[in-house]
């Protein structure tokens, strides 16, 4: 606890006020710790703006959300009409609504880019594992938030999207049907579902999201930011204990981020005012038809940000199960033959493989599709322990690692695109190959990330003055 600090009676009113506050709340100390004396590496590139942009979009979503809730009616009979009321009769309601709907998509754009930055520069490696884990938690909460928010306009896609996704839970053996019932609060998606999703969307999940964001930033400021070179700037400090390659976050990165925010807002508002539907990707055309429980749309597609994971779900068919079983057998055989470990471990692996195979044979492929979709997200949590590369940053990895990352990005985009389309024989096959690659990329990472000729990592960051 800080000493009570007396200030000269001749000090300015501002200094007196600040002193009064600082004696009761660590305002200056917090500002120093997180802004003016928080040293960030000076070699950040454009990839480093997406964190602050995520924060900006979060604020946009909360503020616009507050105003939408003032006019929205969470009632199956009134919800669709209340959204149109906001679009037509509430002054500037259309702008608030378009900001919120565009904000949902923008959130995923900046978060996906933010995560990819982490992947490229190894930002999840020691000692930043918890930063990454909190971040993955944010991503998961964001998906829940977006999914439940999408039901609220009560259009056909809202309704049937929720119906399809909640029904997935009923594929879980034993507890599935009851779990789905618990989520819906009814036997089909209905008024009860709308009310609980509304409650989760405006209170529960945002609280979790905010808590995780605070934890993410506290953890980050504790360990300090990574950088495109993957060099620990804290390893080289000057006489005052300040990292030689560090620069105070404020004012250097605050002015940097204000510029990034201006450019982002330019793109964001261009969409809000000129293309709020974004060709049916941000606002699906079918969602302008009120929800009708008796009329299933021909093609039910989730919004674009869920489609890569939706593709993983659809890819797991009875056919693909045989391929997956072959993979399990191969993995078990390899670890038994090649692995150097005690006989007990080998017995556990062999026994485990037999149990998994038995489950794969006895439980419907639909369930394994759900496992693939969930696993596609959950596997991200393990990244810090899957990556065995001796260097953090992609810059000092073998060239073929870069190509491999590029293929992963293309694979993710293809899965995302295919997830928006109705299933067809050719595209389903492509999605299956894409799914296998997606999981191979992560599950085989402990092996491939060690291989190749790594380049020497410099002791200082590479920086050229602008």
């Amino acid at each position: 606890m800080a000493e009570f600090h007396e200030i000269s009676p001749n000090a300015s009113a501002g200094a007196k006020t600040l002193n009064w506050i600082d004696n009761r709340f660590p305002l200056s100390a917090l500002f120093k710790a997180h802004m003016s004396e928080y040293y960030a590496p000076k070699n950040f590139n454009v990839w480093y703006v997406f964190g602050v942009l995520s924060l900006l979009v979060l604020v946009i979503q909360i503020v616009t959300g507050i105003f939408l809730v003032m006019h929205y009616k969470p009632d199956a009979a009134l919800a669709f009409g209340s959204v149109e009321y906001i679009m037509r009769d509430v002054p500037w309601g259309w702008m608030i609504r378009y900001m919120h709907s565009t904000g949902a998509s923008a959130f995923f754009v900046v978060v996906y880019l933010h995560m990819f930055r982490g992947l490229m520069y190894g930002s999840y490696r020691k000692p930043r594992e918890l930063v990454w884990l909190f971040g993955c938690g944010i991503f998961l909460a964001l998906m829940a938030e977006a999914f439940m928010g999408y039901l609220l306009p009560w259009g056909q896609m809202s309704y049937w999207g929720a119906q399809v996704i909640v029904n997935l839970f009923s594929a879980i053996p034993f507890i599935g049907p009851d779990l789905a019932l618990l989520i819906r609060g009814d036997f089909v998606v209905g008024d009860a579902t709308l009310n609980r999703f509304f409650s989760f969307h405006v209170i529960a999940v945002p609280l979790v999201l905010l808590g995780l964001v605070v934890a993410h930033i506290i953890a980050l400021h504790e360990v300090g930011s990574n950088n495109p070179d993957g060099v620990e700037i804290k390893a080289d400090k000057d006489a005052n204990g300040i990292p030689r390659d560090g620069i105070p976050f404020h004012p250097y990165y605050s002015v940097h981020d204000i510029f990034a925010v201006s450019v982002f807002l330019f793109v964001f508002t261009a969409i809000v005012f000129f293309a709020p539907e974004m060709g049916g990707y941000f606002l699906e055309y079918n969602n302008f038809i009120p929800a009708d429980p008796f009329q299933t749309p021909l093609h039910i597609a989730p919004v674009w940000y869920f489609t890569p994971f939706y593709s993983l779900l659809r890819a797991v068919t009875t056919e693909l199960m045989y391929v997956l079983m072959a993979c399990v057998v191969l993995a078990a055989a390899l670890s038994l033959l090649k692995g150097r470990m005690p006989a007990v471990f080998k017995a556990v692996i062999g026994g485990g493989a037999v149990v998994v195979l038995a489950m794969m044979l006895s439980i419907d492929a639909k369930f394994w599709g759900v496992v693939a979709m969930g696993g596609g997200v959950v596997i991200l949590f393990f990244l810090p322990w899957l990556d065995n590369s001796p260097v953090k940053s992609i810059r000092y990895r073998p060239d073929w690692h870069k190509y491999f990352y590029a293929v992963f990005v293309v694979d993710f985009l293809i899965l995302g695109y295919l997830g928006t389309l109705p299933p067809s024989p050719l595209f389903s096959r492509v999605a299956q190959v894409g799914t296998l690659f997606y999981f191979a990329f992560f599950l085989l990472m402990p092996w491939w990330s060690r291989i190749g000729t790594f380049k020497p990592v410099p002791s200082r960051v590479t920086y050229t003055a602008h």
Partner: protein, 257 residues
């Protein structure tokens, strides 16, 4: 390879994926839609469309989120709306209800006629805008004695709605020809034949439908023209702000070595 190289590589992959995407989108089927003339800024056309809408559509359909007063956005006065466009006993501040009782409508047509407020937004798709769909739909009704209503439609086969504008267009029959495609016999549409003339020439009819669908496009989002006007100012401001913040950023970073 530097990070810029990687960024470029990823960008080119994204572009490639987009290129693949558009070519795949082009394959999404259904009969082609005619392009509706764009008259969204033509107040005369929109007013004429509104007149057609209240006269022909509102008998059976509602536009339950569209207030009559909003028609003032089309340059009409409250008096003009009251005397020319308010055909039911509704007040001018109320929304557009159907003249027909929805229960009767369901009994007659087998379906409750859908609300039309945002129909133009909901019908957009890979083949074109919602206006394109409606423009094609209202111009491809034909006589079909096999149907209960006596009418059928090219883009909406077995449609429950009879041709509401038949007096204007007259009645036509569709000529189909049996052709072989990939070894399968299919009926290919060859063209329409006029049976009885309407009160309008085909060109007049097309123009009237264009006015109607432009009105429906406008009604689906009355703010669509003014939001673009606001957008220009907002973008101009943000462009200026970006320049200033870029200068600010540069000023701070110029001494960092």
């Amino acid at each position: 390879m530097t990070t810029m190289g990687l960024t470029k590589k990823i960008l080119s992959s994204v572009l490639l994926a987009c290129a693949l995407g558009t070519s795949a989108l082009a394959n999404v089927g259904g009969p082609a839609w005619d392009k509706a003339p764009n008259r969204i800024n033509d107040m005369g056309a929109l007013q004429n469309g509104a007149k057609l809408f209240v006269n022909y559509c509102l008998n059976c359909h509602s536009a339950a989120f569209m207030r009559y007063t909003r028609l003032t956005d089309l340059g009409l006065t409250q008096e003009q709306i009251k005397s020319n466009l308010l055909l039911t006993d509704a007040k001018i501040g109320e929304t557009m209800k159907a003249a027909i009782d929805p229960k009767q409508a369901k009994a007659w047509f087998g379906n409750t006629p859908p609300d039309l407020t945002v129909i133009a937004r909901s019908r957009a798709g890979a083949n074109g805008t919602g206006a394109d769909y409606l423009y094609t739909y209202m111009r491809t009704f034909y006589r079909d004695e096999a149907k209960q209503t006596g009418w059928n439609n090219l883009v909406f086969p077995n449609v429950a709605m009879p041709h509401a504008l038949w007096e204007l267009q007259g009645s036509r029959r569709a000529v189909f020809e049996e052709v072989e495609v990939h070894g399968q016999k299919v009926h290919e549409f060859k063209g329409f034949e006029q049976i009885t003339p309407g009160t309008m020439t085909p060109a007049q009819y097309d123009s009237a439908v264009a006015d109607l669908v432009n009105y429906m496009q406008w009604m689906a989002e009355p703010v669509q023209t003014s939001r673009k006007t606001v957008g220009v100012w907002v973008l101009a401001f943000l462009a200026l702000l970006s320049v200033l913040t870029w200068k600010l950023n540069k000023a701070y970073w110029k001494d960092v070595r």
